[in-house]
């Protein structure tokens, strides 16, 4: 049952991720990316991390992708769709090559194994909170400072224009 779910979710993830880069219409790309995020959230649930799954949906599907869709719906002109510049093509080949080599190297070292599925962990939110605010308090606070500086930067940019 869990293996079947895993195969289905993996297939969905890969198909939707492919559809992000292969579809001609940017709106379809964004929608496929949303589907991809949902299937990744499904993987988190299988890994008994429901908190991570829900936060993933709230942050990515609920906030960031809405802004993506916003920008694309407002800016898109159907005429200038598609990669034309040679620089872009060579760049994308380079990125895909590096990623492919990395994956092959990981597989040869044998670190790419299927994760174990745990039975439901009780109180995973509170244990996550303890780790986050206890053991990793300083990195956590540093990342909040990063977010704060981003917020301040956005306000400054907005004021200038």
């Amino acid at each position: 049952m869990i293996l079947g779910l895993f195969c289905f979710l993996s297939l969905l993830t890969i198909m939707s991720a492919l559809s992000v880069i292969l579809s001609r219409n940017p709106v379809y790309s964004v929608l496929s990316l949303i589907l991809c995020f949902f299937s990744i959230a499904g993987h988190y649930i299988l890994l008994s991390a429901p908190f991570l799954a829900v936060v993933h949906i709230i942050v990515y599907a609920g906030a960031i992708m809405v802004l993506f869709l916003f920008v694309i719906m407002l800016m898109m002109r159907t005429s200038d769709v598609g990669l034309t510049s040679w620089v872009k093509r060579i760049g994308s080949f380079f990125v895909v090559g590096v990623l492919g080599v990395t994956i092959v190297a990981l597989m040869q070292r044998g670190t790419l194994v299927l994760p174990r599925y745990l039975a439901s962990v009780e109180g995973s939110v509170s244990s996550l909170g303890r780790v986050l605010f206890g053991q990793y308090a300083i990195p956590f606070e540093l990342s909040t400072i990063l977010f704060l500086s981003a917020v301040v930067g956005v306000v400054m940019l907005g004021k200038k224009s």
């Binding site: 709106v27 929608l31 709230i58 599907a61 916003f70």
Partner: protein, 340 residues
């Protein structure tokens, strides 16, 4: 664990919850029209059946038999996808609501809740944040500038009010100490309703719920005097029906959430001192829960026919400059009080 009894029990529960949600949403349209008539000293629908009680069925049949017209320049796939997503997102939240404590059936304890997630509150928040996609996709796929303009209005309104709503929920979870809806409801046992603990948080939450469901003081997405018919200008037939229906489901679901989070859910006074059997107490609790929900839904309708619509800049100012600072203040005060 996944035995046959469990699967059948959950299947029955899911179908019952879905059916009840849809029927209540259907009859909310009737209640809305009757109450509007009452507020405006009219009679209201009274032709279909006694007191017009069959009016929602007649409306539904009319939607079904009308042609579902798709404009020539619209994106056909997304045009159909939009209302479907609205409907799905509206129904999804029912899955984590604790409708009652539990029934004893044939020696098994059957909880009246589809899934008791330990991140229930976050799940609700995630579902709320998905509601915007139905409107965005439908409005964009219509290929109509009025629909697109109101789509942009709708999505910026929903994103803005989600923030204050989320912060109000953080204050609530701070004071209850759990994210599971079932535990939040059972902590309110004996009149310890969260609305006494979090009065400001509740006011912020209900204002945001009005904005998220696009109900009257905030129904700018379908502001007919400025934007023809809003994001569903190009829709007709049952696709339009889905959009309108999703609004009523959202209203029902947000009343349910508020009744569960702030008004004690299925708890009622002297719950355990009546000396009744467990099943009877549970059924009474379900009845009390629905009474609370209907009271909140009446409040939604009451506001709609009493208060005029906001202007768009007023809406944004209220969301960002009033509700968000108030919600942050509420969260900080709650945190300090818990720490002391």
């Amino acid at each position: 664990m996944l035995d046959l009894f469990f699967i059948i029990q959950k299947l029955i529960l899911v179908s019952a919850v879905l059916a009840i949600t849809l029927v209540i949403a259907m009859y909310t349209t009737y209640a809305e029209r009757k109450l509007a008539a009452f507020f405006q000293d009219r009679v209201g629908p009274n032709r279909a059946g006694p007191f017009g009680i069959l009016q929602p069925l007649a409306d539904g049949l009319k939607f079904m038999f009308k042609e579902a017209f798709i404009p020539a320049n619209a994106n056909k796939f997304l045009f159909v996808l939009g209302p479907s997503i609205s409907m799905i997102a509206a129904c999804m939240a029912c899955g984590v609501i604790p409708w009652g404590s539990s029934l004893m059936i044939m020696g098994h304890e059957v909880p009246l809740q589809i899934a008791d997630l330990n991140v229930g509150v976050l799940y609700l928040f995630g579902v709320v944040s998905l509601g915007v996609y139905g409107i965005m996709i439908g409005g964009w796929a219509s290929n109509n500038k009025y629909a697109l303009l109101s789509t942009i209005r709708a999505s910026s309104q929903m994103i803005s009010y989600e923030i204050a709503m989320g912060i109000a929920l953080i204050a609530l979870t701070l004071s209850t100490g759990t994210l599971s809806l079932k535990e939040i409801v059972s902590l309110q046992h004996g009149g310890h309703w969260n609305v006494w603990v979090q009065p400001l948080g509740f006011i912020i939450f209900i204002i945001c719920a009005f904005a998220e469901t696009n109900r009257m003081p905030f129904d700018l997405p379908e502001c007919e005097t400025e934007l023809v018919g809003g994001y569903h200008t190009e829709y007709s037939g049952m696709q339009l029906g889905f959009y309108l229906f999703a609004e009523y489901i959202n209203m029902f679901v947000s009343s349910t959430v508020m009744a569960a989070l702030y008004f004690g859910g299925f708890n009622f006074p002297f719950l355990n001192s009546l000396g009744l059997s467990h099943n009877l107490v549970t059924l009474l609790g379900v009845g009390v829960f629905f009474a609370k929900i209907f009271a909140l839904m009446f409040f939604f309708i009451w506001i709609r026919w009493t208060i005029p619509r906001f202007r768009y800049d007023q809406l944004m100012r209220l969301g960002w400059k009033v509700l968000m600072p108030l919600a942050i203040f509420n969260m900080l005060v709650t945190a300090v009080l818990i720490l002391l």
